[in-house]
Amino acid sequence: MRFLRRFFIRLSNFTTGRRADQRLREEMAEHLALQAEENLHAGMSPAEARRQAALKLGAAQAIREQHNAEQGLPLAENFLFDLRYAFRMLHRSPGFALIAIATMALGVGATTAIYSVIDATLLHPLPYPHPSELVRIEANVPGVGAHDIGLSIPELRDLQNSGIFQYVSLSFYGTNNLTGNTQPASISSKSVSPGYFAVLGVDAQLGRTWDPHDATPGFLPDVVISDGLWKRAFGADPHILGKSLRLDNDVYHVVGVMPAGFRDQGQTSDERSTDLWAAAGFYGDPAPPPMRGTRFPFETIARLQPGVSPEAAQGRLDALVASLKKQYPADYPSQGAWTIHLTPLAETLVGKVRQSLMVLFGAVGLVLLISCVNVANLLLARASARGREMAVRQALGAARMRLVRQLLTESLLLFVLGGISGFGVLFCARKFLLQFVPESLPRLNDISIGWGLLAFAIAVSVAAGTIFGLAPAWLTSRLNLTATLRQEGRGSNGSQRRSRLRHALVIGELALSLVLMIAAGLLLRSFWDLFKVQLGFNPTRVVAIETSLPNPNDPETDIYHTATQEAVLLREVLRRNRTIPGVEETAVSDRAAIPLGHSQGDRRAVPLFREGQEVQGSQPPLIDTSIVSPEYFHLLGMTLLRGRLFADQDVEDTPLVAVINQAAARMYWPGKDGKGEDPVGKRVRLLGRLGRARQDWTTIVGVMADARTESLADAGIPQIYLDIYQRPAKFLAFYLRGQVDPATISAQVRTQIQAVDAELPVFRAETLDDVLSSSLSVRRFSMEMVALFAATALLLAGLGIYGTISFLVNEQSREIAIRLALGAQRRNILRMVLRQGLTLAAAGAGVGLVVALIVSHLMAGLLYGVSPYDLYTFAGVTAVLTAVALAASYIPALRAMRLDPITTLHAE
């Protein structure tokens, strides 16, 4: 208690700045007077009496300091004192302060920026309560090589009743036509089980979501809409609840509006901005009856019981799977080895971008490290200039720890000021910077620059300041007193150690920037190779515009149910589109056939059975399907290798035909001797997506050359093209090639389409060049960022080597002057200085190359068409680094060469 009381009084004295100095001085004066008086009585002379009294009292200054220390909180007081002093020091050398703060601002600002992206995407990928309970459920049949085959309704019920999960929900992402308001619109929607929002643990802001225990065979008449749709389509109508809306010609009622901040979970940004949720039981119209073998290729997510780890849940699930297999041997043939696998939902969402982001974070970490090293180097350079100051202070009795503390305060001040300015720049430029982040990044909208980030920036600065300020502070305060004072800073004992550390720092800096530059070089080459790749199709002057046909729950009411019905619409729209001025060619396909289309989620691979090769219980390799009109191939400039394309006589009533690409031919008809069999005329059957309507045999009539329509990085993805006049598709893309203005073409095409059917939405007009370029967005983003960081690193490293060599020249100016005076060639002096620069560069490059080999090996997955050990990149980057190091050394070298020996020697 006594201790506490004392602490609080001291704290209050410290904060109110009360000083007891006056009181102590009076007391001591009184003390001395009394003692002197007594001494006088004892018979001393007045002068001797005062002297003895003072001796007895002891060193007044020390007592006062002790007294002051007792009065306040010495640590905090000293800190404030140091801080004031540090400010004054910075003020006195504004150039140094500016460079150091700017360097740190760069490092910390860049790190904080990347951290904000990582924080939103990797660290908090799921904006829902208790996100660790959320899992994705995947059914696999490894025995026949099929993955994520989906679940059937009886299986879903088994999971629900297993007691492992709180809620389980199926969900299926798609789009629907919203009509009846103003302009027909295509909106992102999800068909889900009623428990969907219970799984996510989010409730509506207005109205309600469904009861998770609602049982319904088909669709519930109630839908939940997003805050965005509510504001966009309904003007934030407060009486929206109970109002009806028409989706694909079916009528639904709104029962709830989700909160403004709610984002759905999903792989694509389209899916995350879902606008409408409809609930269904998936075992009545339009879904087939619930059979154990009728599986839906839907996504299944679930919320685990609280406290159950995914591992424990997986164990219980395995037991459930085993018992189901015993119970229904017919549905789970043993060679299929049916399993159910749980993955934490967060992992499935960020998997794709994780590597890119980690590379970025690594790169930005290196930039931060280099900026720290640079500032540490500056601090060391200043240390030599301040050697005398330190010596004087030590001679006056400052303890070494005290000096270290003061120097550390100075460097911390620099780092923190740098960090805060970095954050400030980031904050001011956040709108501008966010433009560069590709839209496909998950949770882009949740990137926020706020207090948390400021705390991060300051924490990073303080940590960096402590680590990188300590060594310079230690070395600065370590000196040989007499030598330093006598030499007047002409180079002292500590300077050897200091220069060794400085060299190490510069070497490290060069090595780190080499690593970054090699990473950037490799990414750049990958990007360039991808950019320059032979596409196999011609995207120039082509615009794709999407529309979608309604898909009502009752097929009887669907006016585009058969291919013949739909053909009337398609042929009329194509004819009308050809009349638009400037249009030379037109075609139509389903959405999945848009080359490099954004909606990769639409790409559904289905198993392809070959005639005469069906094997019971096993699944053949999957193939990507595209449904296209005959003109599609010519419009995109794709090459037919064998057979024929679709023709006018291929209609609904004639035998089904298909065209495949070379990759498919190679995969399905490799031939016996490896030469390849001619697939033209072969018959196949496609299952899955194409529904119940036609399971007839399809004849292959042609083989196309491979084109990179699915992925720029992969030319060999097997493709099968089906005729749109034989297989109706709901989600369509119309293509126009010619001299058209992308800005106005959308409205023109809308007029033409809606002249045929006024209820059809027309949206997303894009040139194929834009589609192609946005398919590279994540790659471009990480490439640009890493390149930017590498350039920054190179600049900083250049500055670092420049500073070090200048310093060396300064330190050796006396030696150089003597050499010159003794007749040394100026050329030799130049060579001597440059050699020092080159030695540093060589050491840095050596270390850097070793590290770069490791790093490039780790990032091999991000590269395309270039080896992680690409000789040209490694050699080129090393050459660039050496050139920069030479250039940076050249300026101080010139200065050394032009040194005037007389002036220099006189100045000493």
């Binding site: 201790f3 009381r5 009184e30 009394l34 003692q35 009292l57 007592i63 002790q66 220390a69 007792e70």
Partner: protein
């Protein structure tokens, strides 16, 4: 020459408290003088070190101080023991005596006393 022993850590506070207990309110010089007298010049005391100690005791609430007039009519600061201080003195005296007694017993033990 044998050096005078330094004041043991913590014992100076006890001496100050005891002095104030015995003499009543005193100024710094008076306390210093008294300690010197009693210890019979054996202790080497930098009298100045008394003042930070007095401040510490005051912060702890064992003593209070106020300005007053000294014997020769000068302004001097007088220190007085508080109730807390008296309690502290009792406790510390007790502790000290105990320690001293234990040490004394160790010194008195002879080899034949040990079992």
């Amino acid at each position: 020459m044998k050096e005078k022993p330094d004041v043991l850590q913590g014992t100076l506070a006890l001496m100050v408290l005891k002095t104030l207990d015995a003499l009543g309110p005193q100024h710094g010089y008076g306390i210093a003088r008294r300690i010197e007298q009693i210890s019979g010049d054996i202790l080497a005391l930098n009298q100045g070190t008394l003042y930070p100690l007095l401040l510490k005791l005051e912060h702890e609430g064992s003593i209070v101080s106020q300005w007053g007039a000294s014997e020769n009519n000068r302004r001097a600061r007088f220190y007085r023991l508080t109730a807390t201080g008296r309690k502290q003195l009792r406790e510390e005296t007790h502790d000290w005596e105990q320690t001293a007694a234990i040490i004394a017993r160790f010194f008195n033990v002879k080899a034949e006393d040990l079992p």
